[in-house]
């Protein structure tokens, strides 16, 4: 258990670090989008590369922040009923959900994501928009985001189990 909790701690530190850094990409996306809008109107031209950049930045934010938001319990739940559950029951629900809902979903996405990303990188796949960006970075965000979420799911499972076993305080 000690060793597992150390693993969990390392994962938490990694996702926390990444989650704290990606927020700045929102600022970048805001500025890129504002400049795009001004240029589009004043010079009557627009660049698909810059338009795609704002979307890609946002994509990176929410994909890479997903694990961090999970760690901070920020994914919304419908607690109409569960707020009446005991703490113990809620721990079990979380453990059950992490193992049977989250883990398979992340695993599937990573499994599909590897060839998805790799083929795009290998073929140098370009955006279907004229003058757009290459596609592989965005596909990497999907793969990377779900890989991180998978890791965080494992960390959460360890923590829930430790709480249920009484090894760790909630």
């Amino acid at each position: 258990m000690e060793g597992l909790l150390r693993v969990s701690g390392s994962i938490d530190r990694l996702t926390l670090f990444i989650g704290r850094q990606v927020r700045w990409l929102i600022l970048a996306a805001v500025l890129v989008s504002a400049v795009n809008a001004i240029i589009r109107k004043t010079f009557d031209t627009s660049s698909n590369a810059w338009l795609e950049l704002q979307g890609a930045l946002f994509g990176a934010v929410f994909m890479f922040a997903a694990a961090y938001v999970l760690q901070k319990n920020g994914h919304v739940r419908i607690d109409a009923l569960s707020s009446h559950f005991s703490k113990r029951t809620r721990n079990w629900v979380d453990l059950f959900g992490h193992v049977f809902f989250l883990l398979p979903f992340c695993f599937l996405m990573v499994w599909l994501g590897v060839p998805y990303f790799w083929e795009s990188l290998r073929d140098g796949e370009n955006s279907s928009n004229a003058g757009g960006l290459v596609v592989w970075p965005v596909k990497f965000f999907i793969l990377g985001g779900f890989a991180l979420l998978l890791a965080q799911a494992i960390s959460e499972i360890i923590k829930r189990w430790a709480v249920i076993k009484g090894v760790r305080d909630d």
Binding site: A34, A37, V69, G74, H75, F105, L112
Partner: protein, 536 residues
């Protein structure tokens, strides 16, 4: 038995989703997992039923759907408007507005309540985030209202309800999400929500007025010694009148020369001229304007400028909603920075807030896309369609049933979940019935506004509870000890406003021209459009 299950997989899937969600596990992952589990079940049962069109290669499409979500330009506006809202909240714009509006309206009976409603509307027109409005107004106005003897339920009801105006007055987040899910553009949704939104504001004010007539003690005027801005209404009135004239003149001169938006330019001219007068008066120290007029004009300008920057450019067709959001967020950041109210901590926290909200919203969307892949594969959309078209009363029956459904769901779940799970199922049915989707979206948006106020899970009530004094507290300015606000009082306060909002929903349903204009046809069963929104 297996065949029975195979034929009814869609309803079974829906019921199990409800069970999954009620367990209280995060919505995004429950949706995705439900989709995946039933995908496996569906593939296994496919030989037993004609209506199941699932096979293993289809599973590979899930990841492409996530790429589609990432390429969605409309939803990019969500972090932009959220960031804008949080920055404005932290930069103290709400405080300035509330202080000044409170002083301006304070001397009349119910004045503080009117001030809260109008500031709520102004904040709503700049941000679109309910939490920010309720928390700001709860922190600033609640203590003042309690100090001067407002009825506790009325005070908290006015604040929570005015906060929810952010839901319906553009640029609201919910209208962005609804536009995306209904497959219409955000611009018409925003334009259509303006009149119903303003009417809601009017209705709230009327209610407060009625209360001051029936129960004057519930909403007393500010006592003389609490009026700090002094008098000087005459000069304020003169400034407003002069700028109004300038605006109308501008509108009249412009309307023949530009294709659209003369009214918007006129309003901009009016605001600019008022600001110009105030600035000139301050600069040359002519003293024509009273302190009151100076103060009112100078605090009103920043939000008005932002409203023009965001909504004006969207309505004029200069900017898309996403661009408007980016411009608004940039404007809010610059404004806060110039005022020296944007230290690193505030910026970082605001970005973190926007990141978290955007992340959970986008993941619910991802989850619902995985869910819908399977749900459509088991012909779930046909099941829902049969269910909804089976409602007696045709279009009206459908609208009433949908509104009842959204209202009840709104008592228990968040509007994002309703928008992402329920709306995609209803949109094709609405389209088949020939209902204008913009009108439909605005009705739903108005209805979801109530979800913030309805017990047991009204988020505006929760925000209010988190900032309202719980037990007795010592009010510093008056030195008195004032009793706290009970949770029951907060809940009770919302009831009147829920009724008012439902009246507005009914008005929008009965008078579609309020949201989609006279010229357009609202219900036309012959008109069935071919371009289905991308729901599958």
């Amino acid at each position: 038995m297996i065949e029975l299950i195979a034929h009814n997989l869609a309803p079974i899937m829906f019921v199990s989703l409800v069970v999954f969600l009620l367990l209280g596990y995060p919505v995004a992952f429950s949706l995705a997992a439900n989709g995946l589990i039933f995908f496996v079940v569906g593939v296994e049962l496919a030989p037993y039923s004609q209506s199941i069109t699932l096979d293993w290669p289809l599973l590979g499409l899930t990841i492409g759907r996530i790429l589609d979500v990432m390429r969605n330009d409309t939803l990019l506006a969500i972090p932009f408007f959220t960031l804008m809202g949080i920055v404005l909240e932290k930069s103290g714009m709400a405080e300035d507005l509330l202080d000044t509006a409170g002083q301006l309206f304070g001397p009349i009976r119910g004045g503080l309540a009117y001030a809260v409603i109008l500031v709520g509307a102004l904040l709503a027109a700049t941000t679109g985030v309910v939490a920010a409005s309720v928390i700001a107004m709860g922190l600033i106005s609640m203590p003042i209202m309690l100090r001067y003897g407002y009825d506790r339920s009325l005070a908290s009801g006015v604040i929570t309800a005015s906060g929810t105006l952010a839901q319906i007055i553009p640029p609201s987040l919910v209208l962005i999400v609804l536009a995306d899910q209904l497959g219409v553009s955000v611009g018409p949704m925003y334009a259509g929500a303006v009149l119903p939104g303003l009417m809601t504001v009017g209705l709230f004010c009327l209610y407060v007025f009625a209360v001051t007539i029936v129960r004057p003690a519930y909403a007393p005027a500010l006592p003389i010694d609490a009026r700090t801005l002094g008098s000087g209404f005459a000069s304020l009135l003169a400034v407003l009148l002069a700028s109004g004239v300038a605006g109308i003149l501008g509108w009249w001169l412009l309307q023949d020369h530009i294709a659209r938006g003369a009214g918007i330019w006129g309003a901009a001219i009016a605001a600019m001229s008022a600001y110009g007068v105030a600035l000139a008066d301050k600069h040359f120290k002519t003293g024509y304007l009273s302190h009151l007029a100076q103060q009112v004009v100078s605090v009103l300008i920043p939000p008005l400028a932002l409203i023009f920057l965001v909504l004006g450019t969207i309505f004029l067709g200069i900017a898309t909603a996403t661009e408007g959001g980016a411009m608004g967020a940039t404007g809010a950041l610059l404004m806060a920075w110039f005022k020296g109210r944007l230290p690193y901590r505030v910026l970082s926290d605001a970005l973190d807030g926007a990141t978290r909200l955007a992340c959970f919203v986008m993941f619910i969307l991802i989850g619902s896309r995985v869910f819908s892949l399977t749900f459509y594969g088991v012909n779930g959309h046909i099941w829902v369609e049969e269910l909804m078209t089976g409602i007696p009363g045709g279009t009206w029956g459908f609208l009433i049933a949908v509104n009842a459904l959204v209202f009840v769901l709104g008592c228990f779940i968040d509007f994002f979940e309703i928008a992402f799970i329920v709306i995609p199922l209803l949109a094709p049915v609405a389209q088949k019935l020939g209902i204008d989707l913009v009108w439909f979206g605005i009705i739903i948006g108005m209805n979801m506004q109530t979800s913030f106020l309805t017990p047991p899970f009204g988020f505006a009530l929760f925000y209010m509870r988190s900032v309202a004094p719980n037990g007795p507290w010592v009010d510093k300015p008056s030195g008195r000890t004032i009793a706290g606000v009970t949770t029951a009082q907060i809940y009770r306060g919302g009831i009147a406003f829920i009724i008012l909002q439902l009246i507005m929903v009914a008005i929008v349903v009965i008078f579609p021209w309020l949201s989609i204009g006279e010229g357009e046809v609202k219900v036309d069963t012959d008109k069935i459009e071919i371009n289905l929104p991308s729901l599958d």
